[in-house]
């Protein structure tokens, strides 16, 4: 079942009068439950593509539809709600709220969604247990290691039960052990929850785990391999 359809997507920047085609005519689909990596050299357009997929940036032309909803047709306020309910984000620098504990960080989006305390508590416990941080639920981010923070970020991304999770270089700041651990957790959650994960990465370890590897260069897809 297709959950993301990208049609003829362009993102063109006019920097200093020289046109930069960061995304140059991409057609791409993602199925439910995929564990996909978008790879390519720096400046190839990975992050731009991820931003467009996440509705954080608008394409110059083309269309992205998620489960039949065209992102380009949503008004700004509707798009924010759409992101909240359908897309999970994991960032390179974890980006947790420093004044909140691990539990509160995971709960935050559910608060915004207006979910009941009972529901929030159950989901938070479930996710923090799944990422192996059940004993650190009351720790603030500054008391957690980079790997632990990124695990909280993964739990947060999944808290709203999104259709897919976008992870922009999630392992870039982690050591090998933490990376391996994080990838295992994400792979497990991908299977258990059926949530689609899409990474942009340079990291070969992520590429090795991914079941689909999309390579882009100069804003174009040059290969799209699915592993068995």
């Amino acid at each position: 079942m297709k959950i993301i359809e990208i049609k003829n997507l362009y993102k063109i920047y006019n920097e200093t009068e020289v046109e930069v085609k960061a995304v140059n005519g991409i057609d791409l689909n993602f199925e439910k439950g995929e564990f996909a990596a978008i790879v390519g050299p720096s400046g190839s357009g990975k992050t731009t593509l991820l931003n467009l997929l996440g509705g954080l940036d608008a394409p110059t032309s083309g269309d992205i539809s998620v489960d039949g909803t065209s992102l380009g047709k949503l008004k700004s306020s509707k798009l924010i709600d759409f992101r909240m309910n359908n897309i999970g984000f994991v960032f390179q620098a974890y980006n947790l709220i420093p004044v909140l504990t691990a539990k509160e960080n995971v709960e935050f989006i559910m608060h915004l969604q207006g979910k009941s305390k009972k529901e929030r508590d159950a989901r938070t416990k479930e996710l923090l247990t799944a990422v192996g941080l059940e004993d650190r639920i009351n720790s603030r981010p500054t008391k957690l290691s980079g790997g632990q923070q990124q695990r909280v970020a993964v739990a947060r991304a999944l808290a709203s039960k999104p259709k897919f999770v976008l992870a922009d270089e999630p392992t870039a700041n982690l050591d090998s052990k933490s990376t391996e651990n994080l990838l295992d957790i994400m792979e497990r959650l991908n299977k258990e929850e059926g949530t689609t994960f899409i990474f942009s990465t340079h990291d070969q370890r992520v590429v090795n785990k991914a079941r689909r590897v999309i390579t882009i260069e100069d804003g174009k897809i040059i290969s799209d391999e699915k592993k068995n």
Partner: protein, 408 residues
């Protein structure tokens, strides 16, 4: 959750928030204390004027209000007296005969208001008896008729206790009369002009000298248990005695009412200026906060925090920051004001003469009112809300995709 995040954000940079909170608390403290001080001064002036000069209600004939002539008196005063005294809000009533006259000692002379009073009743209405600094309150003398004068008049006429005074006036038939009195007491109130132009004599002496009827009066003064009751009593009297003119204290001394009201306005303007200055400091701090948290704000917007919530979060943080300082300042200001409300602030060493000349006491008892605290709290909250608008708008203009990738 947003409330909790905003409150915790206040304490992220303790030093910076501490500086802002200290500034706000000092500003609010200064404002509140200044208000309590001015309010206290005004209240004392009003209370003193009521107790010494006007009482709460004054009753005259309409003609007397227009022209203070001796013939504009009213009679049947005892009936009126009984009627007013029966009201539970009445503390005391007294009747007065007031005659403009010329007074002279052996050395000097001047114009005064000669007020004929019944000392016992009058002492319950006005506090002149307590303000006596020498002599007694119109007790009979072996020779001559007693007169109580203000210390300023005594200085002006160069007289002492027992000195002779000659009073020149017109009686009810407009015949000039000169009569001799002796100084039996000297008083001193907070108002120097009053002390220089007022002479008290016995009611019976003055009615007899001026050939007025035995129960005549130019003025009846009523003291009530509370300043706020004067309106009710005045309207009752207006209904019951339509032929008489009923005045409340502020009708008698309108400038006192304007002064009290304008002082309130000045004080709120003063606090507004303090808060305006503090507001700019708060805007600056919150701008720094927003610029430091670009990445975090970008993340919040990305994961689904809409503009209204981002705005609320920054606004709440600003209000919490301002209000923490505001509450501290209010506690300090109220504490100091409460202390000086009972102990009094002695200004006699600073500008005694000036204060007395304007009718103010030199020891000021501050007066803090609950509505002042509520108004100042609301003003601080408003300052926080207004100060948050610019930084919050800055935050809303962030592009989440770019914000997430910045270094802050």
């Amino acid at each position: 959750m947003i409330w909790s995040v905003s409150w915790r954000n206040v304490w992220r940079n303790k030093m910076r928030s501490g500086v802002v909170i200290t500034a706000v608390s000092l500003g609010v403290f200064a404002g509140v204390f200044a208000m309590a001080f001015m309010q206290g001064m005004a209240k004392q002036r009003v209370d003193s004027a009521i107790k010494t000069e006007t009482s709460h209600i004054q009753i005259h004939t309409p003609e007397y209000v227009n022209v203070n002539d001796i013939e504009n008196y009213f009679t049947n005063t005892e009936e009126l007296f009984e009627n007013i005294a029966a009201d539970p809000s009445t503390v005391a009533v007294s009747k007065r005969v007031i005659v403009s006259s010329i007074i002279s000692s052996a050395e000097k002379g001047g114009g005064v208001r000669l007020i004929g009073i019944e000392p016992e009743r009058e002492s319950e209405v006005t506090n002149i008896k307590e303000r006596l600094i020498e002599g007694n309150y119109l007790e009979p003398l072996k020779r001559g008729l007693p007169a109580v004068i203000g210390n300023k008049l005594a200085e002006k006429l160069d007289v002492r206790l027992g000195s002779k005074l000659v009073v020149g006036l017109l009686d009810v038939n407009s015949q000039p009369i000169y009569h001799q009195f002796r100084v039996s007491g000297i008083f001193k109130t907070a108002s120097a002009p009053y002390d220089e132009t007022t002479v008290f004599v016995n009611y019976s002496d003055l009615t007899s000298i001026t050939k007025m009827p035995k129960d005549a009066a130019h003025e009846m003064a009523v003291l009530l248990s509370d300043n706020e009751l004067s309106g009710l009593m005045a309207s009752e009297l207006k209904q019951g005695f339509p032929n008489l003119n009923i005045m409340e204290w502020f009708d008698v001394l309108p400038e006192l009412k304007y002064m009290t009201e304008s002082m309130d306005v000045y004080m709120y303007i003063f606090i507004l200026i303090i808060l305006l200055a503090l507001g700019f400091g708060i805007v600056n701090t919150m701008l720094m906060v927003v610029l430091e948290r670009v990445k975090e704000l970008g993340m919040l917007m990305a994961v689904g925090m809409n503009k209204r919530r981002v705005f609320s979060m920054i606004m709440l943080e600003t209000v919490f920051l301002s209000l923490t300082g505001g509450v501290l300042g209010l506690v300090l200001g109220t504490g100091f004001s409460e202390f000086f409300e009972t102990h009094g602030l002695d200004l006699s060493g600073l500008y005694k003469e000036g204060l007395e000349a304007m009718g103010y006491d030199t020891i000021v008892y501050t007066n803090i009112l609950p509505e002042m605290i509520i108004t100042v709290t609301l003003m601080v909250i408003m300052t926080g809300i207004i100060a948050s608008i610019y930084p919050a708008r800055k935050a809303l203009k962030l592009n989440p995709a770019e914000a997430i990738r910045t270094d802050n």
